[in-house]
Amino acid sequence: MPVSGVVIRCLDGCADAVSGRVAAFKGLEVHGVLTDGQIVAVIESETVQGEVDLVSVLHEVEGVATVRLAYHNFEDVA
Amino acid sequence: MNFKWWPIRRFVQLSAVVLIASPLMGLNIFRGNLAGGELFGFSLIDPLAFLQATVASRIFVAPFLGAALVVAAFYFLLGGRTFCAWVCPVGLITELNDRLRRSLATGERRLPLSASRWSLVVVIVVSFLAGVPLFEIISPIGMTTRALMFRDWLTLLMLVSICAVEVAIARRVWCRSLCPLGGFYSLLGRFSPLRIHFSEQLCTHCGECTRICPHEEVLLPSLDHDCSHIYSGDCTRCCDCIDICPTKALSVHVIYK
């Protein structure tokens, strides 16, 4: 079950709003909101594809500029 | 009629210096120095350097010995310490330096010639015990030649200090009494067929020869006891005595038997 750390960069002033929105996603935990409007979060999913999908969904969230993968763990914890 | 040895000798001495420095001028005649050299690709080794290196390292290289024997034989035939008067650059420098000393009239003290033989013994023994070629480490000859080869002028300090000592304290002390290489060649010289001949009939005992001779002790047996030849191995065959003798009482002889 893959685990990834992602950095979500938000449009100006949207950081808090966004963190609220994305916190709702299943398999996503917000670990922190940086002063410069970046959100650090951890996502987990059944499959790598699942994660990639989740990331692409994040892109769609209003106020999100970019989503970057910072850490990726493929190893299966099952 | 008015033949003189010294210009020839000076020429030989200088050519030795030039040869050693020649690689820097891009010439490919001579490689190495007086401890170990290569003339037209023909390897030449200082016999004493061979002795030290071999006893120190316990490494034996046949061609190394061969080259050393060639040189030993060469100097044996030409009178042993001939090396000192005709080839050694240190000899050249100290010889010129001695003129300075004369003009200052200082450093009249003399150490006995035989000392050089003792220092030879010390060198061989220490080399064997310490496992390092003692003389090659401190040799002003090596330092001077390397200075010529690699423009490493700092090592000339050794030579300078020797000159200083000789001017101030004891004349020609290095060549006369300390240089183990001189000591080594004096052993060869003792049996060398090439000798200076002394004719008591012609001698007027004017003493010019003893004044010019760097190792004047070697003349005494002849002057005091009319020996027909200079027997001492410490005679460098520099031929200055011949040049200076007003009555031609001295000459070069080759002895057979």
Binding site: G5, L69, A70, Y71, H72 | P23, R31, G32, N33, A35, G36, G37, E38, S43, I45, D46, A49, F50, Q52, A53, A56, S57, R58, I59, F60, V61, P63, F64, A67, L111, P112, S114, A115, W118, S119, V121, V122, V126, S127, L129, A130, G131, V132, P133, L134, E136, I137, I138, G142, M143, T145, R146, M149, F150, D152, L154, T155, S177, P221, H225
Partner: protein, 216 residues
């Protein structure tokens, strides 16, 4: 040969005092030098040099090896080398050994201090390269340097690259240059090429692998 008083006195002086004086002088000089060169630090000797102790004994300081080096890598040590004064050595940081295929320096050595029979440069053992300062090695920090590796004349033999995950960035790998002692000839090219002010990879005394052909 008649003996006169003069000569007897001289004989006494020469025969007894001089030897003593000289023995003292010689003894003290040698005592001064009687230490292994290691005590004065490691000297990178030319290719084919026998074990340091023996080398110091065998080298007659004729300088032919230095004259034979086309890159002027070989220098004759100064007085600071103590016992090793006048012996040939290589300062890798200034000019390392470029490993000429025909090893001209060893060829000309008369005394066996350098093994003139040496043919294969890969058999040379001057020393062994070691990354002495891992903290300051840029490759180990994850930067793409590896200059020592790419400049190594025995690339992929003496130095290889071992990649591992770089947890700091999470998506890059650390490409670590690894020296293999059994292959490294100690030419010092890596030490020479290292981009840090103080080279983090340097040639050190290698474990005595080299056989000595001229044993009595």
């Amino acid at each position: 040969m008649p003996q006169t008083g003069v000569t007897r006195r001289r004989f006494l002086k020469d025969g007894v005092l001089m030897p003593l004086a000289l023995a003292l002088a010689g003894g003290s000089i040698s005592a001064l030098f009687l230490r292994s060169a290691d005590a004065r630090g490691f000297y990178l000797r030319p290719p084919g040099a026998v074990e340091e102790g023996r080398f110091l004994g065998a080298c007659i300081k004729c300088g032919k090896c230095a004259q034979a080096c086309p890159y002027n890598s070989i220098r004759m040590a100064g007085a600071d080398a103590g016992i090793g004064i006048g012996t040939p050595h290589i300062i890798a940081r200034q000019e390392p050994c470029r490993l000429c295929p025909d090893i001209p320096c060893a060829k000309v050595c008369p005394s066996g201090a350098l093994d003139a029979k040496l043919e294969n440069v890969e058999k040379i053992r001057m020393g062994t390269a070691v990354i002495v300062d891992r903290e300051n090695c840029l490759s180990l920090r994850g930067l793409r340097c590896e200059v020592c590796y790419r400049q190594c004349p025995l690339i992929d033999k003496a130095i290889t690259i071992e990649a591992r995950h770089n947890p700091r960035t999470g998506v890059h790998s650390i490409m670590e240059p690894v020296v293999h002692r059994d292959k490294c000839v100690g030419c010092g090219i890596c030490e020479n090429a290292c981009v840090r002010d103080k080279p983090v990879i340097v040639v050190m005394k290698s474990p005595p692998l080299q056989k000595d052909y001229y044993e009595f």
